[in-house]
């Protein structure tokens, strides 16, 4: 490097709130990892189903659809506050970010509560058969994701209620919304696998 030339970057912004940011990429990788865990579990599901003479086993019977379908509805509607949260973060609107984070928490909690009846709708405990084990696993994995997301939302919400918001908190709020999309989008095929395949498959 004998001829040293300088590239001036003093005019570049110190923070961005979109897909250029490092944390956005980190979140993307996290969703790929978790998506892959779901994909492998679904692979295990169809592997076991392929071996079974009846799916579900005759002693269990197919799952109920009422609670799961109601909950699917709740989850689909919850994408709206997530979208509004994302937009509020983009606009750097602190008031709206607080409101929609709270709504996100409300919808997430509602979904979590109805999930209890989703587990009951399976009509089996995890230790009854391989069918029951994989059903509980998929439902349990999705619930774990849900709990993590709720904890994260709670932490961000408490923080920005108590401390001044800086730019990167708007980004965190947006990413909270983005991760919620992931929870919604993964649940649609998983709902089909857990509840529709045993009934109609």
């Amino acid at each position: 490097m004998s001829t040293a030339r300088a590239l001036d970057v003093s005019n570049l912004p110190d923070a961005v709130l979109d897909s250029r940011s490092l944390v956005w990429w980190g979140t993307l990788i996290m969703t790929v990892i978790e998506g892959m865990v779901f994909a492998i579990s679904v692979g295990g599901y169809f592997y076991l189903r392929n071996l079974a003479s009846a799916w579900p086993p005759p002693s269990v019977g197919p799952p109920d659809l009422t609670a799961p379908t109601v909950n699917l509805g709740i989850l689909l509607v919850s994408a709206i506050p997530a979208f509004l949260l994302d937009r509020a973060g983009k606009e750097k609107n602190a008031r709206k970010v607080r409101i929609y984070l709270a709504w996100n928490l409300v919808f997430g909690t509602a979904f979590l509560v109805v999930r209890y009846w989703e587990f009951k709708a399976l009509h089996c405990m995890w230790n009854q058969s391989a069918y029951a084990s994989i059903q509980w696993t998929i439902l349990g994995l999705h619930t774990t994701n849900l709990l993590t997301s709720l904890a994260e939302t709670g932490i961000v919400l408490v923080y920005i209620m108590l401390r001044p918001i800086e730019d990167h908190h708007f980004l965190d709020a947006r990413l909270d919304g983005v991760f919620w999309y992931f929870i919604v989008v993964t649940w649609i095929p998983l709902y089909v696998v857990v509840y529709l395949v045993p009934r109609f498959g």
């Binding site: 110190d14 923070a15 961005v16 250029r20 990892i33 009854q128 084990s133």
Partner: protein, 634 residues
């Protein structure tokens, strides 16, 4: 393509005093926490990388001692040195240690140390998360040896096949602990993968477009992407085994609709890519060493990158070749035979590109280059026996014999450990500022090469003669005595070679020749800063105009206008590395250590009582909150 440097306004480089001021302020901004407790606060990628490397080498020594114990036991027939129970623990510990605690983590560590330097940035994007990765790795290792010392070590082989690893045949907590040990290593590998993928895509020095990334960085990037797609399979496998053992699920219980082969599928869908996760970074090291030794760019850059991508891609389509003896449909086996043989193509492409680079060059015959030559020889043999084993009829004859042991040691030691030693001789000067001794290095290489071949070459023959793996002894009339004795003598030579290596390291740390910035006259950016590099890596972020920035007479340059009073990274666009913005990263903190402790104790507790996992998660919430709360502090 025009580099950003050409578009930028050109100005004269500022004088020394301005540079000195920047250097002083950078040192202040990026300083580490001092004192003994400061060790718990480290977030520097170099510190964490070094910890991975050193810890992994400690495990390498322990795993090596286990190997020596096995060779001592097998040196003569009907030996009583180890009883069968201990022998089963020792080979399980050897495999688990070498795969999960040496080979993968040492590659992660070298990647963590070198990649940010090679792409010209100051730290990884999530330094605190990155620290968590190391603590998890360390806790996993402590747990593994904790169980072993209490004579409750896992004893079902490193791939823990069910039903042997199930409750019925492995009662007690040894296997429960093994499952959690695997979980610790998964988390740590995934964290490093996330850190390095984002580093490579978003933090490259301006001008380092995708087609100018050093081959070593390509190798690490592709490896980390493999980690992302391979680890979920072992998360699923370990989780299912754990719940079968402790919650009464039936994944692997055929009586209730489960299936033992599901374990093998899930484990090898991870386990085969794992081999490439170890092997690809080693290929990157070979490229770095060859280009530095010949002072030439590697021939066929694009072909090399595509070969790495093809190897990774095919690596996910091979797992069933570990299961040829399980009676799967022949059509399916044929597919995996084809895929297993195909992997020889991209590997061959790389070998030929290296030969083309060497052709007519006058390489510097230094220790790293010797190890690369050793790699060529041993790895090609391992590759050829791999092509043999890919054939189902051959595999059925040789399955679970010492031929397989010989094959995968040729691939793993030949393909990964030889380049790794070469890499240590190559980068030790950068990491420590001192050269490793040359004479001891040559002895280290020669004894390792002879010892390795003496140990493992006879095992091919033992396999042909029908000696099975994992037997603790054999009767004297089988005709295996001489070859086993030869293998054990070879193992002794390998032990001497490793001892010489250690002596060399400890001597050179104190008395080695000073290295200077670029002792090999190599071309990549890690050689553009002092040895060892300062906490902030570069006083000024370099600007890159070619694949070999340090060999450029024209082009290149540096970045100005980066404030030095905050821990700022320069973020660039993923494809062309045009500057995008600046981003602040957090500094030293104890929170990564604390959260590793709360979550780790939860996982360890869950071996004995499942609710500990839940307790660990809940206790971690306040720590996570503290983490988020203090992110603002420098």
């Amino acid at each position: 393509m025009s580099s950003p440097a050409e578009k930028a306004p050109r100005e004269k480089a500022p004088g020394d005093s301005a540079e000195e001021r920047e250097r002083a302020e950078l040192a202040r901004t990026w300083r580490k926490r001092s004192g003994k407790l400061g060790l718990l606060f480290s977030v520097d990628h170099k510190t964490i990388g070094k910890r991975y490397i050193i810890t992994a080498f400690v495990f390498f020594l322990v795993g090596g001692l286990e190997a020596a114990a096995m060779r001592l036991q097998l040196a003569r027939p009907e030996s009583r040195f180890l009883n069968p129970d201990i022998y089963a623990q020792v080979f399980t510990m050897h495999g688990t240690t070498m795969m999960f605690f040496f080979a993968v983590p040492v590659m992660l560590g070298i990647g963590l140390y070198l990649v940010p330097l090679m792409v010209g940035t100051r730290n990884v994007p999530f330094p605190r998360l990155n620290a968590v990765g190391y603590w998890f790795y360390l806790m996993g290792g402590v747990l593994l040896y904790g169980t072993f010392v209490m004579n409750r070590g896992p004893d079902a082989g490193w791939f823990a096949y069910v039903p042997l690893s199930g409750n019925a045949y492995s009662a007690g907590h040894g296997m429960d602990a093994w499952v959690q040990i695997i979980n610790f290593t998964e988390v740590s590998a995934l964290i490093v993968a996330a850190s390095l993928i984002v580093t490579v895509f978003k933090q490259r020095a301006p001008g380092m477009s995708l087609n100018r990334i050093p081959l070593f960085v390509w190798a690490i990037l592709i490896t980390m992407i493999m980690v992302i797609f391979a680890m979920p399979a072992v998360i699923f496998a370990a989780g299912s085994l754990n719940s079968d053992r402790s919650l009464g699920t039936h994944f692997f219980n055929p009586a209730e609709g489960g299936d033992a082969l599901l374990w093998q599928h899930a484990f090898w869908f991870f386990g085969h890519p794992e081999v490439y996760i170890i092997f690809l970074p080693a290929l990157g090291m070979v490229s770095s060493i060859i280009s530095a030794s010949t002072r030439r760019p590697i021939f066929g850059y694009t072909a090399m990158v595509l070969a790495l991508v093809a190897t990774a891609f095919l690596g996910f389509g091979l797992w069933v070749h570990h299961m040829f003896a399980t009676g799967l449909p022949q059509m399916g086996e044929a597919f995996f035979t084809a895929a297993s043989m195909m992997i020889a193509i991209p590997t061959g492409v790389q070998i030929f590109c290296w030969i083309a680079t060497l052709w007519g060059s006058r390489p510097r015959w230094d220790v790293p280059f010797l190890f690369v030559l050793g790699f060529f020889f041993t790895f090609v043999i391992g590759g050829l026996t791999g092509v043999m084993l890919a054939s189902v009829p051959v595999d059925l004859q040789l399955h679970d014999t010492f031929f397989v042991v010989a094959h995968f040691h040729y691939v793993l030691i030949g393909g990964a450990v030889f380049p790794l030693f070469g890499g240590v001789y190559h980068w030790f000067p950068k990491i420590t500022g001192r050269m490793l001794g040359r004479t001891l290095g040559i002895w280290n290489f020669a004894l390792l090469f002879v010892g390795f071949n003496l140990t493992f070459f006879p095992m091919h023959e033992l396999g042909f003669h029908g000696m099975p793996r994992r037997v603790y002894t054999y009767s004297p009339d089988r005709g295996w005595n001489g070859l086993n004795l030869a293998a054990s003598l070879g193992a002794a030579l390998m032990a001497v070679a490793v001892a010489l290596f250690l002596i060399n390291v400890f001597r050179s740390l104190r008395r080695g020749a000073r290295a200077g910035e670029n002792p090999w006259n190599a071309e990549t950016l890690e050689w553009a800063t002092s040895s060892p590099p300062p906490a902030y890596n570069f006083v000024r972020i370099p600007v890159v105009a070619s694949r070999s920035p340090l060999w450029d007479r024209e082009g290149g340059g540096f970045v100005t206008g980066m404030p030095t009073d905050k821990r700022l990274l320069l973020v660039t666009h993923a494809l062309d590395a045009e500057p995008s913005h600046r981003e602040e990263v957090p500094g030293p903190s104890v929170n990564p250590f604390l959260i590793s402790l709360t979550m780790g104790l939860g996982l360890i507790g869950s071996i004995f009582w499942l609710w500990w996992a839940v307790i660990g998660a809940f206790v971690s919430i306040p720590v996570a909150f503290l983490w988020y709360w203090t992110e603002e502090e420098p």
